[in-house]
């Protein structure tokens, strides 16, 4: 009999499910020690916050677009006609206890979720962790980003305020700009001209059922695959493509991860309580004849918004078909960006004739071409991102939006190559200095140590041989 608390229960469970072997293996699973391996977890915990807060919000939200008259606590909208959807969000914000707090936490968690995914993606990219055998996880990760984008937009749209309506109108224009199939696409996703009576109910079921389910399933695969494949290692002593050096899941890594979880929850709760986000009562209910400057999407669509602002008004006529200007920045550009993300590992593998399994990461300066391509790409998106807020910059600085736009139009061509060349030179210099100070050592004998059952907190190494099988 185990003297540990819960020992009886554990034995009861083990007799029925035979978990002991698996749990022992799992608790000894080795995670490498580096802060950058926890960035993806920030996104994971944000997603958990989104599910929890979203469940609360769904209890009060009504996706109907039926017209109702508001008589709630916010007096400046008293007697105003609005959609039932907007009314339910107003009720949630002003009359449900903690409703506004939970709504703001949900929105902040969404912004942080996608930002954390991007930071995680940048870490993977700049350390070349996407290489064989981890291409599948790269593909799943990019797909997760895509679905996170989509769900962010659905959530932004269903509040029924003026900004939501403006966003829907832009989405309508973007879908409509797709040659040939545009009208069918708008009918499929939006139910026709926005805001159709089916638009919000459709978005709502996408937002709370379909997309979260897809994200959850992909997330399970994402984590399952990284569990099976083990993490990568940063270059260092005794780290090879066949070994992994780090600390065990229990107790060391679990404690770190749980601590991070608390930090993410605390930060989101703090933002939700102290910093106002999306004040829909100021924007007012959606009214087709009203509009407002300073109408931005949430930040993750800022680059598409900026591309639309910078792109010149060029309509392309191809025979009987018209390709309107919106198509290029808002459909073609995102399609190319995601296509580039999807194929990047395979292109690199093809160009470099690299068929090896990689477990040791490359540091950014060790792969100057990758790093400079990534930085140029990042600067390009950053310029577009700034352009998405050019009117806010003009108002805040008192400048002219025409001048700002002109400067950004120049920068979008000039800045990315300059940044890429600059970064390449810096990387090349760092690599030269490194080789000068570290002459190549003779290859040392790698002693592969089988993992032990000792669950102490000391550094351990695990054998993980890709060429054979990876047993858990």
């Amino acid at each position: 009999m185990s003297g540990r608390p819960g020992g009886h229960f554990a034995q009861w469970l083990d007799r029925r499910l035979h978990l002991a072997k698996f749990v022992k293996k799992a608790m000894n699973h080795v995670f490498p020690d580096h802060w950058s391996f926890m960035l993806g977890e920030v996104a994971l915990y944000s997603f958990i916050i989104l599910v929890i807060t979203g469940t609360f919000l769904a209890m009060f939200y009504n996706s109907s677009s039926a017209q109702v008259t508001y008589h709630g606590s916010y007096r400046a909208l008293d007697g105003v006609k609005m959609s039932a959807a907007y009314e339910s969000v107003m009720h949630l914000s002003f009359d449900v206890p903690a409703g506004l707090l939970i709504r703001q936490m949900h929105h902040w968690a969404a912004l942080i979720f996608i930002a954390a995914i991007l930071v995680h993606l940048a870490r993977i990219f700049f350390t070349a962790a996407y290489r064989r055998p981890r291409e599948i996880n790269w593909l799943i990760g990019v797909t997760l980003l895509l679905f996170a984008f989509g769900n962010g937009f659905f959530g932004y749209s269903i509040a029924g305020d003026l900004l939501s309506g403006a966003g829907l109108r832009v989405a309508y224009a973007i879908l409509l700009s797709v040659p040939v199939v545009g009208p069918w696409l708008t009918f499929l996703f939006l139910g026709g001209t926005v805001p159709a009576s089916v638009t919000l109910p459709r978005f709502y079921s996408f937002h709370i059922f379909l997309v979260p389910a897809v994200i959850s399933i992909l997330l399970a695969f994402h984590l399952g695959i990284i569990w099976r494949q083990f993490h990568t290692n940063y270059p260092g002593p005794r780290r090879t493509d066949e070994t992994i050096v780090g600390s065990r899941l229990w107790p060391s890594y679990a404690a770190k991860s749980l601590g991070l979880c608390f930090f993410v929850f605390a930060l989101v709760a703090m933002l939700g309580g102290l910093v106002q986000i999306d004040p829909i009562w100021v924007y007012g209910p959606y009214d087709p004849i009203a509009s407002t400057p300073g109408a931005q999407p949430d930040w993750y669509f800022g680059w598409i918004e900026g591309a639309m602002r910078l792109f010149p008004g060029i309509n392309l006529h191809l025979g009987p078909y018209l390709i309107p200007e919106v198509f290029f920045p808002a459909v073609l550009l995102p399609a190319l960006v995601f296509a580039a993300l999807y194929v990047y590992p395979f292109v690199e593998e093809f160009i470099c004739f690299d068929r090896e399994y990689h477990n040791v990461l490359r540091l950014p300066y060790q792969q100057p071409i990758n790093t400079s391509i990534g930085c140029g790409f990042f600067v390009f998106l950053a310029v577009l991102f700034v352009a998405g807020g050019d009117d806010v910059i003009a108002v805040a600085t008192g400048g002219s939006v025409v001048t700002i736009r002109l400067i950004l139009r120049l920068l979008v061509f000039v800045a990315p190559p300059v940044a890429a060349v600059l970064i390449y030179m810096l990387c090349a210099r760092a690599r030269r200095r490194h080789t000068a100070s570290h002459p190549p050592a003779p290859p040392e004998d790698v002693v592969v140590q089988e993992e032990t059952t000792d669950s102490s907190n000391e550094e351990v190494r695990t054998h993980c041989d890709w060429k054979e099988k990876c047993d858990w």
């Binding site: 933002l271 100021v282 931005q296 999407p297």
Partner: protein
Amino acid sequence: MPRFVLVEERLKSRHFDQEITVRRVCGYLSFKLSLHATSVRSILRVLLLVPFASGFGFGHDAEAGPPPNGQAIFLRNCAKCHGEKGEGISAVVTIAGPNLQAEHDTGSAMTAMETGPSHMPSFVYVLSVPEMRAAADYVVNQLAVISLTGGDPSEGGTLFRVYCATCHQTSARGGALAFTGINAPALTGKSAAIIAGAVRSGPGPMPAFPPSILTDKQLNSIVDYVEVIQQPPSPGGSPLNWYGPVAEGFAAWVSVFALVVITGWIERGGKG
């Protein structure tokens, strides 16, 4: 006729009374400079004029004789920019004054004459206090034809989002107008009188909204709503200066960088 000529004649006709000579000259200089550069004016006002202004109270300046004629003073000093009926001048030039027909407060009219808000010069060294009061009384009693009562803020909100928010933003914090490079100003800190006057006269590039478009009641509703939205409730915490999703995205990225720093802190075992 340029404005400063009027002042010059005034100064000559007073024979440079001993008691007020210094102040008149300084005032004349500041007034003339004010026509050229706002910055020069403000620097001079601080460096040169404030000591004089504080040394000589207005009370000494009370002159005997008939009460000043408010209409004459208004026509000589104010009508050039504000129009003869106080209807305002709407033009894309620097000398353009807002409509004064909703000004029902003598005190705020006198304050404007003393302090010279925005592009307007200060009249402290040009008009005596009784003269200012006479001009203000004339504005309030004879020119203020727009009544500012009986508005409904929630109706005004709907109208504001349709007529005003298109340029001034739903939060009334101003907006940049594409293709023109002009920024619609923020409406914060603007009095009800200024807002009502601006709606009616349409200063600068702003269109005018005469009673045929917005009735007096609708105008008052809009003015009431603007007073709400100048200080809108922010039950959710800091409104981030009402910059909207741009500021929210910025805050989200600051938070994510904070979390990145925290992962490093956790990895070091909570040290350093």
